[in-house]
Symmetry: C2
Subunit: 142 residues, 2 copies
DNA sequence: TCATTGACTTTGATCATCATAGTGATTTAC
DNA sequence: GTAAATCACTATGATGATCAAAGTCAATGA
């Protein structure tokens, strides 16, 4: 409750786990327009809480990447239910990716999502996204 | 996100759905010590959001009861996952009710919880709680 | 009738958040 | 090899939210 009873922390975790954002700048340029001081504070707090880890980049000394710890990854089902509640049965665009995800089997989605994040990916972000793989599998099964 | 990205709103929903609290005074006397002005604000906000309903009592004109709408009830899985994440695999007292709930089948817990709330009850609060019924069934099945 | 209960409001101080501007260490472009 | 750009932040001052405590006001119970 303390951890996620704050919209910014929740938003950061969403960006990290669903969109595959990893750097300060990426979080900063998110839709919701978080300010740099608040972002810095929340990242530090999440790190102190053992939910994310801060790792300076090895190739570019300016960059820092943030990624989810196991404890952070464990919040995936929470994010899933939050998304489901947020959609609230409302039909959006048929080609909205969340819409597509919600039509899939919950356990399969969670498993694929977990796996993707552990491999450095996320639900929607990047080529190797859980979503892309779920979609591919869907085509094979049917 | 906007709705539950606020710890007080989340706490109110928890008290409502798991502890069966229904009145201003009950919420006010919660563990977390919310102030009356903030409580009033959050209850109004949740009502405007269609998540809870405010109903003046018919027997006592001073009292007001707050209860979850269907939209509010739909937040139960979210609360469930939040609780599960919050426990984080940590074993607490063996006789902690949340511990017992987490050992049960997810779908059964959610179904019983949903039903209890629709009948005016909650997960843990009161005689007719979902927990009490789940426990009773558990004894029969085994 | 008079204290009490219950649902809030008011108030003033403290705390958090906001947008904006900066800092300082890299790294790229020319 | 220098200047511009990028990156992760910090600093700042105004504005907004939160806090505890006390107060209001109608309805009830003793």
């Amino acid at each position: 409750m303390e951890t996620f009873g704050d919209s910014w922390s929740l938003l950061i975790m969403r960006d990290l786990l669903t969109l595959g954002k990893h750097t300060f700048g990426e979080f900063l340029r998110s839709e919701e327009r978080i300010g740099p001081s608040v972002l810095a504070d929340r990242l530090a707090r999440l790190e102190r809480g053992g939910i994310i880890v801060r790792t300076p980049s090895e190739t570019d000394a300016r960059k820092v990447t943030y990624s989810a710890t196991e404890r952070g990854i464990a919040a995936i089902p929470l994010l899933y239910e939050a998304a489901r509640w947020g959609m609230g049965g409302v039909r959006m665009d048929t080609d909205d990716p969340w819409e597509a995800v919600m039509a899939m089997d919950r356990d399969e989605v969670l498993a694929a999502w977990h796996r993707a994040v552990r491999e450095g990916g996320s639900l929607f972000g990047g080529e190797e996204s859980a979503f892309a793989r779920l979609r591919a599998r869907e085509r094979v099964v049917r």
